[in-house]
Symmetry: C2
Subunit: 249 residues, 2 copies
DNA sequence: TCACAACAGAGAGCAGTGCTCGCATCTGGA
DNA sequence: TCCAGATGCGAGCACTGCTCTCTGTTGTGA
């Protein structure tokens, strides 16, 4: 569960014990996080929970921000796994790409509502000036992988029919992104550029819909927030070319 | 500039002096906020900037959170004014509703990029458990007013052609929202409900697009983030029924 | 098996925070 | 002019992140 360092097989007994303690530390920190939120997460409080002096914690973690970074990575992995699972389940039920995306979005929303502080940790205001981005990138990319897979599937099936505007795709996406997205789509064509751009649209609509609801910007707006969420996601997805049917449920 | 209490005409000299000091306090706090961000905003630092003991600040403001709430209201008003101005300018230039919305979105993005900490203050992670919502609501509604006006204009012109899915609008919106939105649209019809729901879609797409960029989720994604933003906004707007042309610029 | 080096933990301490309270001081309004 | 109430100050409390030094333990290589 807890993401430790590289050595998956600790050599010495000392390293094993150390990994054990660090895992307990991360678990305690996660409990505090999900109870009080990232802003209130106090290293001293975590130390108290563990029955340990606050200074001892610094044997395992460089700083409070480093601890938060570890939790951020864990959380990106958790939400990435939720999205991947939702996509797999939907496809197993024979869902088309549009339906698959809707169910992924619903799953992520459900996860966010269940643990709002975890969602805030990764998709809310960044904690300090900058969290170390490079460490978190691989885990953060899992969500993007799901989005791109949905778009690729639709493109291959030929069901990707954008209702949104046509646009010059150049400049919208960097070569690095194209490399990731285009891997399964052959040479770098304008289509690949377009799909990459549209993955951002899907991501932004998901982020916006969940953040707006969670952060109170839709306060007293709807009776059925789940239904409103479906509309928001499906509407943006239609612009991208994924047309989901909301008449059934 | 600074939003003071209700008495726009202070009766006594004492009250005038008090309002003056409070305004200076808010200005200093805003400067700190825009320099360091809400999380780092320290009441003691503001007091130092004013050359005053930290305890003296409490004569004018109940707590740090109360000070933040005042800044939040100011900020909602600022971004609301930006949106209103952008809409007015666009209409003065003869822009259609879709174009108007795109320019509003661009203006808000420009404002957010210029003062990211102000944006984070209102659209990022809420500061404490709950900010007093009732005080901030009127200012926060200005943005929604702009969105609804664009949709109403399109509906009246008959150019509102949604590409997104059809949906049962009931439950998506509360009567209170309908009262606000439907004021200029006559009786509560399903069309009013639909427009209200779609205002949430526009809002969410704007929030998601700016937050994603500002919070680093599009890190190294694009060369031209402005162009990517246009695509995101226009694509979601197309789902709602506002079709903007991106081929010109 | 054993000595020792490396390591984990404790606790004091520093600088910072929000906030309270009692005390002086000043000043506006009668 | 006079004084009550407004205003500011500074000490102090409890909390934070983080550092430093010291002690006791424990795993490990010889």
């Amino acid at each position: 569960m807890s993401t430790t360092e590289v050595p998956s097989v600790p050599a010495t007994a000392r390293e094993r014990a150390r990994a054990q303690v660090k895992a307990e530390l991360l678990d305690a920190a996660r409990a505090r996080l999900e109870a009080d939120g990232a802003a209130e997460l106090s290293l001293r409080a975590v130390a108290r929970d563990l029955g340990v002096a606050s200074s001892a914690v610094y044997r395992y973690v460089e700083s409070r921000d480093a601890l938060l970074t570890l939790l951020i990575i864990e959380t990106y992995d958790a939400v990435g796994a939720v999205a991947e699972q939702a996509a797999a389940d939907a496809r197993a039920r024979g869902a088309d790409p549009a339906r698959t995306w809707l169910e992924v979005a619903r799953a992520v929303r459900g996860w966010a509502l269940a643990q709002p502080y975890a969602y805030e940790l990764i998709y809310g205001t960044p904690v300090r000036g900058y969290r170390a981005p490079d460490d978190t990138v691989p885990s953060a990319l899992r969500m993007w992988g799901v989005i791109v897979s949905v778009l690729q599937q639709a493109a291959e099936e030929g069901t990707l029919a954008p209702a949104g505007p046509d646009f010059d795709p150049h400049g919208r996406v960097t070569p690095a992104v194209v490399a990731v997205v285009g891997g399964a789509l052959g040479p770098v064509s304008d289509d690949v550029l377009r799909i990459a751009s549209r993955s951002a649209t899907l991501f932004c609509s998901l982020l916006g819909a969940i953040s707006a609801e969670l952060f109170g910007h839709l306060h007293r707006f709807a009776d059925d927030y789940g239904a409103l969420f479906d509309v928001t996601i499906a509407t943006a997805a239609a612009g991208v070319g994924l047309h989901a049917d909301l008449s059934d449920a």
